[in-house]
């Protein structure tokens, strides 16, 4: 075989691709499901913690700051491995899917809390005072006046962070989750040919390239006047 034929046989093998694309497609479904669950839980928990910090209870603040720092400092893969291989020893078993979900949700929660909190702080204090002055209670002031302004500030950094953490679903392959990378790797092992891996890479591009480009757009669209 000449160079190009050999390359095509290895990386763009139509027969292998025909055999394994359904597996990769299933993997794509798992990746999307995992990503959606992580984003929903991570952002909700992050916002919840940021709102709790608005109460200004010192002990609670310290606890939240510690938890946030912890999950910002630990590599996501270390967390996944710790939950998956470690917790069963303590009698709590997680499947690879839920171990990956829990680890990445905690990481997204930490980053989201930090961004939400920073954005809430960036809303001028007068907005709080004006809300209270016209007779709104704490929560309505937060919900109707402060959060809408804070979210606008939060959206660009939050979008980028969410994309980055969602890409971490590929780490699930380490704990035997059959998401795109996991499916591609087992396809490669069975066929002895890296074409499934190329298909997997293409699936990731299909999934994340539009998101990355949209992220670029969001960044300019929501840019705070500077």
């Amino acid at each position: 075989m000449t160079g190009w034929d050999g390359f095509a046989f290895s990386f763009l093998n139509a027969r292998v691709a025909a055999d394994y694309w359904p597996k990769i497609l299933e993997g794509l479904g798992v990746t999307v499901a995992l990503a959606v669950l992580i984003i929903a839980a991570g952002l909700a928990l992050g916002l919840g913690l940021a709102v709790l910090r608005c109460l200004g209870l010192r002990m609670l603040d310290w606890a939240i700051i510690f938890v946030v720092d912890l999950f910002r400092a630990l590599p996501p893969l270390v967390l996944i491995v710790l939950i998956y291989f470690g917790l069963p020893a303590a009698g709590i078993g997680f499947s690879g899917f839920w171990a990956t979900w829990l680890a990445l949700t905690l990481v997204l929660m930490a980053f989201a809390e930090e961004i939400f909190w920073g954005s809430i702080c960036a809303v001028p204090k007068g907005q709080w005072e004006a809300g209270r002055a016209i007779g709104l209670r704490f929560l309505p002031t937060l919900r109707l006046i402060v959060l809408p302004q804070a979210l606008r500030i939060a959206i660009p950094p939050l979008t980028n962070r969410t994309i980055a953490i969602t890409k971490g679903t590929a780490l699930g392959s380490v704990v035997a989750v059959a998401e795109i990378l996991g499916a591609a790797q087992s396809g490669m092992a069975f066929s002895g040919n890296p074409t499934p891996l190329m298909l997997g890479a293409m699936a990731y591009l299909l999934l994340f390239l539009p998101v990355v480009i949209a992220g670029r757009w969001v960044e300019t669209r929501f840019a705070w006047r500077r």
């Binding site: 590599p75 893969l77 491995v81 303590a90 009698g91 702080c121 780490l171």
Partner: protein, 224 residues
Amino acid sequence: MNDFIDAFLNAEIAVAAAPILWMGFQQTLMLAALTVPLGLAAGFGFALLSTRRERWIRWPLMAVIDVFRAIPPLVLLILLYAGLPFAGLDLGAWGAVALAFLLNTGAYYAEILRAGIESVPKGQHEAARALGLRRWQVWVFVVLPQAVRNVLPDLIGNTLEVVKLTSIASVVALPELLFQARQAQSVTFNATPILVAAVAYFVLLWPFVRLLSRLENRQLAARR
């Protein structure tokens, strides 16, 4: 409770695993010392090129940067480590890690630095030229120092992410901290080594997280 302590906080196993965890920790530091400068160098290169006015340079470069920001780093690493040998090119674990980080973190640094360069007013460039500085002097002494200062929190944040990301090298059997911890765990059937590794990462990176948190809040507050 005793089971929990036995499985997670087993002092005997922690002591036994300490030497290989220490070796892993040193490898992690070496990986960081390799990947951060590599990524920064590639990022500076990409960023400088992407400020060129010619569209045929700028657009393909943006496309390449977006592709490497869209592919999860672990996928890129495995593609290079397990895929390339089929094309007759075996980079080995260190080579694959170095190239994957060059492309992935280079793309992220490039985006950050580009934003930094764009945040420096054009007048700075023109004024420096008018003062008689050469082109490279304009970049080195006028534009880049301001650009880096403007995006410093993002640069530190990305560097933190890069150091955390070195843990994926464990997947291609590079004996860094997480790899050694998993080895120790599989030999002892005990999770203590992984917990010790997690604590080591936390101790190493916590000061940077604190610093970053302060810088970010200051940046957001300044946007008011």
